[in-house]
């Protein structure tokens, strides 16, 4: 992606400007995390340096202020990811109820390991920390959607569905 392509359309730009007005005068930096979510969704599912520089210019911040925040939070991808990012929770409660069976199965089905992207660029698999779905474990998050009480059959159905839909995972 070249720098010239990184530009919010007028509607998104209006939304971003509106967001910055939610906060007291001079405190518009508070909108940085919400705006980075939008930027990530708009520009390929990850935050490249040009994307972060663009956010800095739109928000009138120094680029370093954007880099240091983007790199701190786990939902911001600092490297390219597949079109459909699958995040399987692996912490205690999910582990107790078979999260590793789910991870194993997805690895075999997609022929990738945790942290990798499928050769066609469709799927990236991540193992993540507690997503607050302990009572409905095991689970995975794909974009904003929680898929809970997973079984191997349910995972298979979902993977098929994502493939058929050419699903793009987005938080917002």
């Amino acid at each position: 992606m070249t720098t010239t392509e990184i530009q919010f359309d007028s509607e998104t730009l209006a939304l971003v400007n509106n967001m910055m007005k939610r906060y007291p005068e001079g405190k518009h930096k508070s909108a940085l995390i919400p705006v980075l979510h939008i930027a990530q969704a708009e520009f390929g599912g990850w935050l490249s340096v040009p994307t972060m520089d663009y956010v800095a210019s739109v928000m009138n911040l120094k680029p370093i202020e954007v880099y240091e925040v983007a790199s701190f939070y786990s939902m911001f991808n600092m490297h390219p990811v597949g079109k459909c990012l699958i995040e399987v929770c692996r912490t205690s409660s999910c582990w107790l109820r078979g999260a590793e069976d789910v991870i194993d199965h997805i690895e075999k089905r997609l022929n990738i390991r945790v942290g990798e992207t499928s050769a066609d660029g469709m799927f990236t698999l991540k193992a993540v920390e507690c997503l607050g779905s302990c009572g409905t474990a095991p689970m995975m998050q794909v974009g904003a959607d929680y898929h809970e009480n997973l079984t191997i059959e349910k995972v298979d159905t979902l993977l098929e569905k994502f493939k058929d839909e050419n699903k793009q995972s987005r938080y917002c």
Partner: protein, 447 residues
């Protein structure tokens, strides 16, 4: 019969919408509070209720509110902590997803009591779909005149916003949350000054958990004194418990504080017993950071008294034989569970979530994860157990925020109560093959 205050309307379809919430008595507390009560009177009711913070620390809410500085001409803020990230905890998510208006009503009356004109609900980024539910409910509340200018003709103005995070456990710590809300990295601040003096944008701020703020609604509805009659003397009211792990009925339950732990685990009304008819091995009663207890100590105190679901009973015996109610994240483990492997998932979690600001936590969490992995990879040494103990003791109390303790306590408790299991893995490494997916550990160790 269980007492329900927050989830009393859980069975009503559409209760997440304003018309149905109102038809079931919703927003009547707001009208009563804004029209007939002074901020001081609300504070008194909350103090009288004995409500303790439901996020994990259990600090008295009324007292926290009374610390709020009120200098002339300086804005004050109420920030709702909806960053729920403590492993084992999903109660705030449940409440916000199904009952967004009780939180919003609680935010409005609490903001009024504190004199805040702008309030924020900071929600973890992964709960994006719940942020949407809240935004829709807030829009309904604006349209009904419960938010905005001159609410219900009371002359009180309030704007309420939802702010999403982006994945960081540490942002559940109140000063890290405020940093994040200011658009920065979630590094906790050194206290003092406490947020009550210098919080959001340097202004006096109260940060309260979702369940705490929601509980203000039934407190004002029935009066603080009536609320205080529910539960026990030191643990008043009801509490949402997130039940997970090897139980027949995982989920969120509202309990009257003070019911026996045994009843909570085995009765059909709550967890419904251990799945597969197995035996109970251990429980983490209040979210990943509280000490794990073996079956005999979670069911009965060291004095042989039945253990109750309350701040004081779970805490009975200190950390030697007791634990904490914490966030109410109740994780149950059956007889086949590897305590060491479970601890490894916690250690990996805390290493991942350490903000890196304080050396003892940044380095210590990484070392604890590595040593546990070494033991689980069959390369453990008896000295490793003492080394783990030594590291956790050098994190505890030596960091800016309590993530250090949160990472240290589970390690200490697992060694305290299950030392023989560590020793067994070290002495007989072939035992590791009994852990499901043990090969993943070896791969991780090799990598």
């Amino acid at each position: 019969m269980s007492k329900k205050l927050l989830l009393k309307n859980d069975h009503i379809e559409g209760i997440h919408t304003l018309p149905i919430y109102r038809a079931n008595g919703g927003y009547s507390v707001l009208e009563k509070a804004l029209k007939t009560m002074s901020p001081e009177a609300i504070l008194e009711e909350v103090k009288t209720s004995g409500l303790r913070g439901r996020g994990g620390a259990g600090f008295p809410t009324g007292l926290k509110w009374s610390f709020l500085a009120k200098p002339e001409g300086v804005p004050r803020y109420l920030v709702c902590n909806a960053d729920e990230s403590e492993p084992g905890t999903l109660k705030d998510r449940y409440l916000m997803e199904r009952h967004p208006h009780i939180l919003i009503e609680g935010m409005i009356v609490s903001s009024f009591a504190l004199g805040a004109k702008t309030s924020y609900i900071y929600i973890r980024g992964e709960y994006f779909y719940i942020a949407r539910i809240l935004e829709i409910a807030i829009k309904e509340a604006y349209e009904a005149g419960f938010l905005g200018k001159n609410i219900q003709g009371s002359g009180y103005d309030l704007d309420l916003y939802v702010q999403v995070g982006a994945g960081a456990y540490i942002c559940g710590e109140e000063t890290a949350l405020l940093e994040s809300l200011e658009g920065k990295r979630g590094n906790p601040r050194i206290k003092p000054p406490f947020p009550a003096i210098a919080g959001l944008y340097g202004c006096p701020t109260v940060v309260n958990n979702v369940e705490t703020i929601a509980a203000v609604v039934p407190i004002l509805e029935m009066g603080g004194a009536e609320y205080a009659k529910i539960g026990t003397e030191k643990s008043t009211g009801t509490k949402l418990i997130s039940a997970s792990g090897h139980i027949n009925k995982p989920g969120v339950y509202e309990i009257e504080l003070g019911i026996p732990v045994e009843e909570f685990i085995y009765s059909e009304e709550y967890c419904g017993g251990i799945s597969g008819g197995k035996k109970l091995k251990a429980v983490v009663a209040g979210g990943s950071s509280v000490p794990i207890l073996p079956a005999e100590l979670i069911l009965k105190t060291s004095a042989g008294e039945p253990r109750m679901m309350s701040y004081e009973s779970l805490g009975d015996g200190g950390f030697l034989t007791g634990t904490m109610l914490g966030s109410g994240g109740f994780i149950v483990m059956d007889e086949d569970t590897s305590i060491v492997k479970n601890l490894y998932t916690f250690a990996r979690f805390y290493h991942h979530e350490s903000c890196g600001q304080c050396s003892p936590c940044r380095e210590g969490t990484g070392w604890m994860e590595k040593i546990l992995l070494k033991i689980l990879d069959g390369r453990g040494d008896m000295k490793d157990i003492d080394l783990l103990w030594d590291i956790q003791s050098k994190i505890e109390g030596k960091t800016i925020c309590p993530l250090g303790e949160a990472a240290a306590w589970p390690v200490a408790a697992a060694i305290r109560h299950f030392r023989s299991e560590f020793e067994e893995y070290i002495q007989y490494p072939e035992k590791i093959r009994d852990i499901k997916h043990y090969y993943r550990l070896q791969e991780t160790a090799t990598a």
